[in-house]
């Protein structure tokens, strides 16, 4: 390892060869402003096109200013990060960017979270000396993501997320010069593209160019309708991140406050998606054991590995990219949809109400869930099982709207029966969690033995793609885990080519799993935030009295009173689904 010595703002610093000036400065507490640059270790995310020129610095002996994000440190370098020349250049660059940016900050969805806004403030921009033409592009409103490209600053982060990290390949820079814009092929709407709605482009966009479709008003309308019973479900990852929207330390668990806030908002029943996660384990776990047993008994018609199917971004990904493999994922619906189906059948019956009288709202860390609940197969006679899906960010907005002082709320408990969950349901929120939950139950159901230690540390972690072998009382189960669709693609290619010997694979579309979902409070490139959320999820699990899905008493009751047993006819009707080949066929004449 070669080291180089240099000085930055008269401070000596020693760094490894290959380190950029930006990183070296950061290591000694000098924060050079940047805009297009974003790097997330562990997530395979590195965006440094060097395009915005905001991070320029003066390097002694060089004629031109150097972009700190792309310039490597050299021995003896003398770097100045805030000379008059640098400050003037930075301000000029910023003013030029702002001269082609709509001045709509007051009403922009990203206001307060916008990196461009923050930067303008930090640089003290009080006037824009340049006026000229402004770019205008076609807007795009999909069920989950809104593209307002007039607000784009061409940082290319969304392209990196879509193409490098997720390998979905929807976005590319198209056209040239002033006309250039980041868009799908043929500038079609996202709705017609292979977009998975994972929302990772939204998660990294520095401005308001990419945002979620906001459904908060639909929630408010439902809440004030006296003829509707409004039921809410909250995904596991929401409680580990919602606090951030109210200035709390990342990783603060706010389950009890969240429940209290939802009740204050006026929801008639505050339930938990974690309950449906436990239900997912019952169905998916049983399906896995059934497939495994038949496979071991030599039934050639049964395919392994089984792939998890909780993540709607992942589902849409394989429907587009691996349509020849749509028969291997589990047929179990996602927890969001299982919840909706049970709420509008079992629970509606308990209330003696028609399904149309119920409005099911879901709070999700996710943008793809907004799309998922619009899929036709998840509605009955035009009435969707889940009517509205809002993100963690939108819930924070609803809470602020209702003048609730979140931090001072006293913890409250979920309602029953659809609010009871186990630790296994909670860990669905992080990469590795679904498969750990499945293993906890499958182990006991398969071996008939009591599982002493419920933590499977070999399944935990943040590496993009992991392999582990779990001992099922003598039988070795090979398990694969991938988070981030690029990692999922690699695992799937191995399965396709017969190179892998997995029995089961868990896949989550977003880096980190749902804790890193596209609907979570913005992390602004800080991976530590995701790690803290992950710790919070495991903390919640550890504190639960019951930690195996099949021991959830309300799940047991649901089967006894209503469903019969896992994979029963009614279970199939309500809790399982099918997938579609979405590979676009080229029309050929004759």
């Amino acid at each position: 390892m070669n080291l180089v010595k240099l000085t930055i703002d008269n401070k000596p610093v020693v760094v490894e060869q290959g380190t950029t000036i930006l990183e070296a400065a950061k290591s000694i507490g000098i924060k050079i402003p940047s805009l297009c640059y974003m790097k997330m270790d562990d997530m395979n995310f590195e965006n440094k096109p060097g395009g915005c020129r905001v991070c320029v610095v003066e390097v002694e002996g060089r004629r031109n200013l150097a972009p700190a994000c792309k310039t490597e440190c050299l021995e003896g370098m003398v770097v100045k990060t805030h000379t008059v020349r640098v400050i003037n250049a930075r301000r000029t660059v910023m003013e030029l960017i702002l001269s082609d940016h709509p001045a709509e900050c007051l009403t922009c969805a990203k206001s307060g979270e916008c990196e461009l806004q923050d930067l303008a403030q930090n640089l003290g921009i009080r006037e824009i000396h340049y006026t000229g033409e402004q770019s205008h592009y076609k807007g795009d409103r999909s069920p989950a993501i809104i593209r307002e490209m007039d607000k784009c600053i061409m940082c290319r982060r969304c392209e990196t997320a879509c193409n490098e990290v997720q390998t979905v390949g929807v976005l590319s820079a198209v056209n040239r010069g002033f006309e250039s814009v980041v868009a799908p092929a043929f500038e079609m709407d996202l709705d017609h593209s292979v977009c998975t709605y994972c929302g990772q482009c939204v998660a990294v966009c520095p401005t308001g160019a990419l945002t979620e479709r906001d459904y908060t008003w639909k929630v408010i309308e439902a809440l004030v309708d006296p003829n509707k019973t409004v039921v809410v479900q909250t995904a596991p990852a929401v409680r580990a991140a919602l606090g951030e929207s109210f200035g709390m330390e990342p990783g603060t668990l706010v389950t009890g406050k969240m429940v209290a806030a939802l009740r204050k908002l006026g929801f008639d029943y505050v339930f938990d998606t974690d309950f449906a996660a436990d239900l997912t384990i019952m169905e998916e776990g049983t399906e896995f054991l059934d497939r495994l047993t038949r496979h071991l008994n030599g039934d050639k018609s049964v395919k392994l590995p089984i792939l998890t199917s909780c993540c709607p971004g992942w589902v849409k990904f394989f429907e587009h990219q691996f349509p020849e493999m749509i028969d291997i994922p589990s047929t179990a619906k996602s927890p969001q949809q299982m919840f909706g189906a049970i709420a509008k059948s079992y629970f509606a019956k308990k209330l003696d109400k028609k399904r149309e009288d119920l409005v099911v709202v879901s709070v999700m860390p996710c943008l793809a869930k907004k799309y998922e609940c619009t899929r036709e197969e998840f509605s009955v006679n035009g009435d969707a099982d889940v009517n509205v899906s809002v993100t963690t960010r939108e819930l924070a907005q609803l809470i602020r709207n209702a003048n609730i002082d979140f931090a001072s709320l006293t913890d409250e408990e979920f309602d029953q029966p659809l609010g009871e969950s186990t630790g296994a349901g909670v860990i669905f929120g992080t990469t590795g969690g679904v498969i750990e939950a499945a293993v906890r139950s499958a182990y006991e159901l398969h071996t008939g033995k009591h599982l002493e230690k419920v933590e499977f540390n070999e399944l935990r972690g943040m590496e993009g793609s992991r392999k582990a072998t779990v001992d099922f009382d003598g039988m070795k189960l090979n398990i694969g885990i991938a988070h981030g669709l690029g990692n999922a693609r690699k695992l799937l290619e191995d399965v396709k080519s017969g190179k892998s010997d997995f029995h089961a694979i868990e896949i989550m579309a977003c880096p980190g799993g749902c804790i890193g979902g596209g609907g979570q409070p913005y992390h602004h490139g800080n991976v530590d935030i995701l790690k803290k959320r992950q710790r919070a999820i495991y903390e919640e699990d550890a504190g639960k009295p019951i930690r195996k899905s099949h021991e959830n008493p309300f799940i047991q009751e649901l089967y006894k009173e209503f469903l019969g047993k896992p994979l029963s006819d009614l279970s199939h009707e309500l809790l399982h689904t099918h997938y579609f080949d979405r590979k676009k066929k080229v029309e050929i004449e004759e």
């Binding site: 390949g169 929807v170 092929a185 043929f186 080229v586 029309e587 004759e590």
Partner: protein, 157 residues
């Protein structure tokens, strides 16, 4: 965007072009050049097949096609009109000539008339600066063109 249906044998030819470059994504521009020779332009379907064969995203192919002015997604007219915008032609009033073509044909640069008869494009210097401003239609070259000549020229076709 109108759906274009590509005949079977042409699809095979296109795939052969990709194959002749080992389906190497680095050869995308060369593949697109040959594809444009084959079809005269690069409709969406052609780009989709190329993307599929070369294992790159359609968005990426479209990005390349829209970046380089050589590539076109619109079919050329039966009589492609090019107006030289090189320095000599430009200073001798090529822009006014161009404006007259645009007005008479009611198309923009890069477009084709709805009947498919004419398409309009600009180029830089055909090496006949002595005849500036120069217009070419197909293989024919017209020199010292003034806006008043445009109607007469178009009437020849």
């Amino acid at each position: 965007m109108a759906k274009v249906k590509i005949p079977d044998n042409k699809v095979q030819e296109l795939k052969d072009i990709c194959k002749s470059f080992n389906n190497d994504p680095g050869e995308l521009i060369n593949v697109l050049h040959q594809a444009q020779q084959l079809f005269g332009y690069l409709p969406a379907e052609v780009q989709e097949i190329v993307a599929d064969e070369m294992n790159v995203s359609v968005a990426h192919v479209y990005g390349v096609v829209t970046f380089y002015s050589f590539f076109s997604m619109l079919p050329k007219g039966k009589h492609p009109i090019s107006i030289c915008m090189g320095t000599a032609c430009y200073v001798r009033g090529a822009e006014k000539v161009l404006d007259e073509f645009k007005r008479r044909l009611d198309v923009k640069v890069g477009e084709t008339t709805p009947d498919g008869k004419f398409s309009l494009s600009c180029l830089r210097c055909v090496g006949a600066c002595g005849l500036a401003p120069v217009v070419t239609i197909g293989e024919r070259v017209y020199g010292r063109v003034s806006p008043d000549d445009v109607k007469k020229i178009l009437d020849e076709y």
